[in-house]
Amino acid sequence: MQTNNTFSTRAYGGILLIGLYFGILLVKSEVVRWQRVHDMFLFKEVHMYGVISVAIVVGALSMLLIKRLEVKDMQQKPIVYEPKPFHKGVIFGGMIFGMGWAITGACPGPIYAQIGAGEWLAVLTFIGAMVGMYLYAWLKPHLPH
Protein backbone atom coordinates (compact mmCIF):
# COMPACT_ATOMS: atom_id res chain seq x y z
CA MET A 1 0.00 0.00 0.00
CA GLN A 2 2.18 2.82 1.22
CA THR A 3 5.88 2.73 0.58
CA ASN A 4 7.02 3.93 3.96
CA ASN A 5 5.18 3.33 7.17
CA THR A 6 7.69 3.28 9.96
CA PHE A 7 9.38 6.38 11.17
CA SER A 8 12.26 7.38 13.38
CA THR A 9 11.45 8.49 16.92
CA ARG A 10 12.30 12.01 15.78
CA ALA A 11 9.73 11.89 12.98
CA TYR A 12 7.08 10.46 15.34
CA GLY A 13 7.88 13.30 17.74
CA GLY A 14 7.39 15.77 14.90
CA ILE A 15 4.05 14.18 13.98
CA LEU A 16 2.89 14.41 17.61
CA LEU A 17 3.84 18.10 17.67
CA ILE A 18 1.93 18.79 14.45
CA GLY A 19 -1.11 17.05 15.97
CA LEU A 20 -0.73 19.22 19.07
CA TYR A 21 -0.47 22.32 16.89
CA PHE A 22 -3.58 21.31 14.94
CA GLY A 23 -5.51 20.45 18.10
CA ILE A 24 -4.75 23.88 19.58
CA LEU A 25 -5.85 25.50 16.32
CA LEU A 26 -9.13 23.58 16.24
CA VAL A 27 -9.99 25.05 19.64
CA LYS A 28 -8.61 28.58 19.12
CA SER A 29 -10.33 28.87 15.72
CA GLU A 30 -13.56 27.71 17.41
CA VAL A 31 -14.08 25.18 14.62
CA VAL A 32 -14.75 22.74 17.49
CA ARG A 33 -17.86 24.58 18.62
CA TRP A 34 -21.28 23.27 17.63
CA GLN A 35 -22.58 26.84 17.41
CA ARG A 36 -19.99 27.80 14.77
CA VAL A 37 -20.92 24.81 12.63
CA HIS A 38 -24.59 25.56 13.07
CA ASP A 39 -24.14 29.21 12.10
CA MET A 40 -22.17 28.07 9.06
CA PHE A 41 -25.05 25.93 7.85
CA LEU A 42 -27.46 28.78 8.59
CA PHE A 43 -25.23 31.14 6.53
CA LYS A 44 -25.24 33.39 9.58
CA GLU A 45 -21.52 34.17 9.57
CA VAL A 46 -18.47 33.80 7.36
CA HIS A 47 -16.23 32.42 10.11
CA MET A 48 -16.17 28.71 9.15
CA TYR A 49 -16.22 29.44 5.43
CA GLY A 50 -13.31 31.83 5.98
CA VAL A 51 -11.27 29.30 7.96
CA ILE A 52 -11.82 26.47 5.47
CA SER A 53 -11.24 28.60 2.33
CA VAL A 54 -8.06 30.23 3.64
CA ALA A 55 -6.78 26.81 4.76
CA ILE A 56 -7.39 25.45 1.25
CA VAL A 57 -5.58 28.41 -0.38
CA VAL A 58 -2.60 28.07 1.98
CA GLY A 59 -2.58 24.29 1.43
CA ALA A 60 -2.69 24.74 -2.35
CA LEU A 61 0.12 27.33 -2.38
CA SER A 62 2.21 25.05 -0.16
CA MET A 63 1.66 22.09 -2.50
CA LEU A 64 2.58 24.26 -5.47
CA LEU A 65 5.85 25.22 -3.81
CA ILE A 66 6.56 21.63 -2.75
CA LYS A 67 6.06 20.44 -6.34
CA ARG A 68 7.96 23.33 -7.98
CA LEU A 69 10.95 23.01 -5.69
CA GLU A 70 10.71 19.19 -5.64
CA VAL A 71 10.95 19.28 -1.87
CA LYS A 72 11.63 15.97 -0.12
CA ASP A 73 10.31 14.86 3.26
CA MET A 74 12.42 14.17 6.38
CA GLN A 75 12.98 10.60 5.16
CA GLN A 76 14.46 12.03 1.93
CA LYS A 77 11.52 10.68 -0.06
CA PRO A 78 9.78 12.77 -2.69
CA ILE A 79 6.45 14.23 -1.53
CA VAL A 80 3.57 12.83 -3.57
CA TYR A 81 -0.16 13.38 -3.07
CA GLU A 82 -2.15 10.14 -3.37
CA PRO A 83 -5.40 11.19 -5.08
CA LYS A 84 -8.65 10.03 -3.49
CA PRO A 85 -10.65 8.36 -6.26
CA PHE A 86 -14.20 9.17 -7.28
CA HIS A 87 -16.96 6.65 -6.57
CA LYS A 88 -20.61 6.88 -5.56
CA GLY A 89 -19.62 6.92 -1.89
CA VAL A 90 -18.09 10.35 -2.39
CA ILE A 91 -21.64 11.59 -3.00
CA PHE A 92 -23.71 9.40 -0.65
CA GLY A 93 -21.10 9.14 2.08
CA GLY A 94 -20.31 12.83 1.77
CA MET A 95 -23.95 13.71 2.25
CA ILE A 96 -24.32 11.36 5.23
CA PHE A 97 -21.23 12.81 6.88
CA GLY A 98 -22.58 16.34 6.30
CA MET A 99 -25.77 15.40 8.15
CA GLY A 100 -23.78 14.06 11.09
CA TRP A 101 -21.59 17.16 11.07
CA ALA A 102 -24.67 19.38 11.36
CA ILE A 103 -26.10 17.32 14.22
CA THR A 104 -22.97 16.77 16.31
CA GLY A 105 -21.24 20.02 15.38
CA ALA A 106 -18.04 18.06 14.96
CA CYS A 107 -16.12 16.52 12.11
CA PRO A 108 -13.59 13.84 13.13
CA GLY A 109 -10.76 16.22 14.14
CA PRO A 110 -12.90 18.24 16.53
CA ILE A 111 -14.26 15.04 18.14
CA TYR A 112 -10.74 14.26 19.33
CA ALA A 113 -10.03 17.88 20.35
CA GLN A 114 -13.31 18.04 22.32
CA ILE A 115 -12.44 14.84 24.17
CA GLY A 116 -8.99 16.20 24.98
CA ALA A 117 -10.57 19.41 26.22
CA GLY A 118 -12.63 17.40 28.69
CA GLU A 119 -15.98 17.67 26.93
CA TRP A 120 -17.17 14.24 27.97
CA LEU A 121 -20.27 14.29 25.78
CA ALA A 122 -17.90 14.10 22.81
CA VAL A 123 -17.12 10.54 23.90
CA LEU A 124 -20.66 9.72 22.72
CA THR A 125 -19.94 11.32 19.34
CA PHE A 126 -16.78 9.22 19.16
CA ILE A 127 -18.58 5.99 20.11
CA GLY A 128 -21.17 6.80 17.46
CA ALA A 129 -18.44 7.40 14.90
CA MET A 130 -16.85 4.03 15.71
CA VAL A 131 -20.23 2.33 15.34
CA GLY A 132 -20.63 4.11 12.00
CA MET A 133 -17.22 2.89 10.89
CA TYR A 134 -18.12 -0.71 11.85
CA LEU A 135 -21.41 -0.34 10.01
CA TYR A 136 -19.50 0.71 6.92
CA ALA A 137 -17.02 -2.17 7.35
CA TRP A 138 -19.97 -4.56 7.48
CA LEU A 139 -22.00 -3.08 4.62
CA LYS A 140 -19.10 -2.14 2.33
CA PRO A 141 -19.41 -5.19 0.03
CA HIS A 142 -23.08 -4.35 -0.62
CA LEU A 143 -22.81 -0.58 -1.05
CA PRO A 144 -22.50 1.05 -4.48
CA HIS A 145 -18.94 2.29 -5.05
Binding site: M1, N5, L16, I18, G19, L20, Y21, G23, L25, L26, V27, K28, S29, E30, R33, W34, V37, F41, G50, I52, S53, V54, V58, G59, A60, M63, I66, Q75, P83, K84, F86, I91, F92, G94, I96, F97, G98, M99, G100, W101, I103, T104, C107, P108, G109, I111, Y112, A113, G116, L121, A122, L124, T125, F126, G128, V131, G132, M133, Y136, L143
Partner: protein
Protein backbone atom coordinates in the same frame (compact mmCIF):
# COMPACT_ATOMS: atom_id res chain seq x y z
CA UNK B 1 -0.81 40.56 23.09
CA UNK B 2 -1.28 37.77 25.62
CA UNK B 3 -4.91 38.72 26.12
CA UNK B 4 -5.45 38.57 22.36
CA UNK B 5 -3.89 35.11 22.31
CA UNK B 6 -6.38 33.95 24.93
CA UNK B 7 -9.36 35.13 22.86
CA UNK B 8 -10.75 33.12 19.92
CA UNK B 9 -8.49 33.66 16.92
CA UNK B 10 -9.79 35.40 13.77
CA UNK B 11 -10.77 33.21 10.82
CA UNK B 12 -8.02 34.43 8.52
CA UNK B 13 -5.25 33.66 11.01
CA UNK B 14 -6.84 30.33 11.93
CA UNK B 15 -7.20 29.47 8.24
CA UNK B 16 -3.55 30.24 7.46
CA UNK B 17 -2.28 28.19 10.41
CA UNK B 18 -4.63 25.25 9.77
CA UNK B 19 -3.66 25.25 6.08
CA UNK B 20 0.00 24.92 7.09
CA UNK B 21 -0.80 21.54 8.66
CA UNK B 22 -0.80 20.15 5.10
CA UNK B 23 2.85 20.97 4.24
CA UNK B 24 4.01 20.28 7.81
CA UNK B 25 2.74 16.68 7.66
CA UNK B 26 4.17 16.18 4.18
CA UNK B 27 7.56 17.57 5.19
CA UNK B 28 7.87 15.55 8.37
CA UNK B 29 6.09 12.33 7.44
CA UNK B 30 5.44 12.46 3.71
CA UNK B 31 1.78 11.85 4.57
CA UNK B 32 -1.43 13.50 3.46
CA UNK B 33 -3.32 15.31 6.21
CA UNK B 34 -6.44 13.30 7.07
CA UNK B 35 -8.24 12.28 10.22
CA UNK B 36 -11.24 10.02 9.61
CA UNK B 37 -8.97 7.09 8.57
CA UNK B 38 -8.04 6.91 12.25
CA UNK B 39 -11.45 5.32 12.95
CA UNK B 40 -10.51 2.41 10.69
CA UNK B 41 -7.04 2.08 12.23
CA UNK B 42 -8.55 2.01 15.73
CA UNK B 43 -11.13 -0.58 14.62
CA UNK B 44 -8.50 -2.80 13.01
CA UNK B 45 -6.17 -2.48 16.01
CA UNK B 46 -8.86 -3.23 18.61
CA UNK B 47 -10.71 -5.96 16.70
CA UNK B 48 -8.19 -7.55 14.32
CA UNK B 49 -10.47 -10.58 13.88
CA UNK B 50 -13.63 -8.66 13.05
CA UNK B 51 -15.49 -10.53 10.30
CA UNK B 52 -15.06 -7.67 7.82
CA UNK B 53 -12.29 -7.48 5.23
CA UNK B 54 -12.26 -3.72 5.70
CA UNK B 55 -10.77 -4.35 9.13
CA UNK B 56 -9.15 -7.81 9.21
CA UNK B 57 -7.17 -7.19 6.02
CA UNK B 58 -6.19 -3.69 7.06
CA UNK B 59 -2.65 -3.06 8.20
CA UNK B 60 -3.32 -0.52 10.95
CA UNK B 61 0.34 -0.43 11.91
CA UNK B 62 0.85 1.49 8.70
CA UNK B 63 -1.38 4.11 10.28
CA UNK B 64 0.63 4.41 13.48
CA UNK B 65 1.73 7.89 12.41
CA UNK B 66 -1.97 8.84 12.07
CA UNK B 67 -2.80 7.56 15.56
CA UNK B 68 0.12 9.53 17.01
CA UNK B 69 -1.16 12.59 15.15
CA UNK B 70 -4.61 12.02 16.71
CA UNK B 71 -2.95 11.73 20.14
CA UNK B 72 -1.46 15.15 19.48
CA UNK B 73 -4.89 16.58 18.67
CA UNK B 74 -6.29 15.27 21.97
CA UNK B 75 -3.37 16.88 23.84
CA UNK B 76 -3.77 20.09 21.84
CA UNK B 77 -7.44 20.28 22.78
CA UNK B 78 -6.46 19.93 26.42
CA UNK B 79 -3.71 22.57 26.29
CA UNK B 80 -5.79 25.06 24.31
CA UNK B 81 -8.72 24.99 26.73
CA UNK B 82 -6.66 24.70 29.91
CA UNK B 83 -3.89 27.21 29.23
CA UNK B 84 -4.76 29.25 26.15
CA UNK B 85 -8.36 30.31 26.73
CA UNK B 86 -9.45 33.24 28.86
CA UNK B 87 -13.01 31.93 29.07
CA UNK B 88 -14.51 28.47 29.18
CA UNK B 89 -15.05 27.17 25.66
CA UNK B 90 -18.66 26.15 25.12
CA UNK B 91 -18.40 23.16 22.80
CA UNK B 92 -22.03 22.08 22.78
CA UNK B 93 -25.23 24.01 23.44
CA UNK B 94 -26.88 23.57 26.84
CA UNK B 95 -29.74 21.58 25.28
CA UNK B 96 -27.29 18.75 24.45
CA UNK B 97 -26.76 17.99 28.14
CA UNK B 98 -29.82 15.78 28.24
CA UNK B 99 -30.90 12.28 27.29
CA UNK B 100 -32.14 13.61 23.95
CA UNK B 101 -28.85 15.42 23.39
CA UNK B 102 -26.86 12.30 24.16
CA UNK B 103 -28.97 10.38 21.67
CA UNK B 104 -28.44 13.05 19.00
CA UNK B 105 -24.68 12.93 19.52
CA UNK B 106 -24.65 9.13 19.29
CA UNK B 107 -26.82 9.07 16.16
CA UNK B 108 -24.99 12.00 14.60
CA UNK B 109 -21.70 10.29 15.41
CA UNK B 110 -22.84 7.18 13.54
CA UNK B 111 -23.51 9.36 10.48
CA UNK B 112 -20.08 10.98 10.82
CA UNK B 113 -18.27 7.64 11.09
CA UNK B 114 -20.24 5.90 8.36
CA UNK B 115 -20.27 8.89 6.01
CA UNK B 116 -16.59 9.78 6.25
CA UNK B 117 -15.54 6.19 5.69
CA UNK B 118 -17.94 5.75 2.77
CA UNK B 119 -16.78 9.03 1.24
CA UNK B 120 -13.13 8.19 1.93
CA UNK B 121 -12.37 11.34 3.86
CA UNK B 122 -13.65 14.25 5.90
CA UNK B 123 -13.05 17.98 6.11
CA UNK B 124 -9.29 17.49 6.45
CA UNK B 125 -8.66 14.72 3.92
CA UNK B 126 -11.17 15.79 1.27
CA UNK B 127 -11.94 19.49 1.75
CA UNK B 128 -8.50 20.79 2.76
CA UNK B 129 -5.92 18.29 1.48
CA UNK B 130 -7.92 17.08 -1.51
CA UNK B 131 -8.97 20.44 -2.91
CA UNK B 132 -5.47 21.84 -2.16
CA UNK B 133 -4.17 19.19 -4.52
CA UNK B 134 -6.84 19.97 -7.13
CA UNK B 135 -8.36 16.51 -6.69
CA UNK B 136 -11.83 16.97 -8.19
CA UNK B 137 -13.55 14.06 -6.37
CA UNK B 138 -12.63 15.86 -3.15
CA UNK B 139 -14.44 18.96 -4.36
CA UNK B 140 -17.50 16.81 -5.11
CA UNK B 141 -17.28 15.28 -1.62
CA UNK B 142 -17.03 18.72 -0.01
CA UNK B 143 -20.07 19.97 -1.94
CA UNK B 144 -22.04 16.98 -0.68
CA UNK B 145 -20.84 17.53 2.91
CA UNK B 146 -22.67 20.84 2.61
CA UNK B 147 -25.68 19.36 0.85
CA UNK B 148 -26.14 16.94 3.77
CA UNK B 149 -25.51 19.57 6.44
CA UNK B 150 -27.86 22.09 4.83
CA UNK B 151 -30.58 19.46 4.39
CA UNK B 152 -30.52 18.60 8.08
CA UNK B 153 -30.16 22.17 9.35
CA UNK B 154 -32.87 23.67 7.13
CA UNK B 155 -35.03 20.57 6.83
CA UNK B 156 -35.42 19.11 10.30
CA UNK B 157 -33.30 21.64 12.18
CA UNK B 158 -36.28 23.15 13.96
CA UNK B 159 -37.16 19.71 15.34
CA UNK B 160 -33.61 18.80 16.31
CA UNK B 161 -32.08 21.90 17.80
Amino acid sequence: MVSLLLQPWPWWLSGILIGLTVPFLYLVAGKGFGISTSLRHIGAACTPNAPFEYLNKHNWRGGTWNLIFIGGIVLGGFIATRFLSAETVEFLPASYYSAGGALRLLAGGVLVGFGTRYAGGCTSGHAITGISNLNWPSLVATIFFFVGGLLVTWGIGSLLF
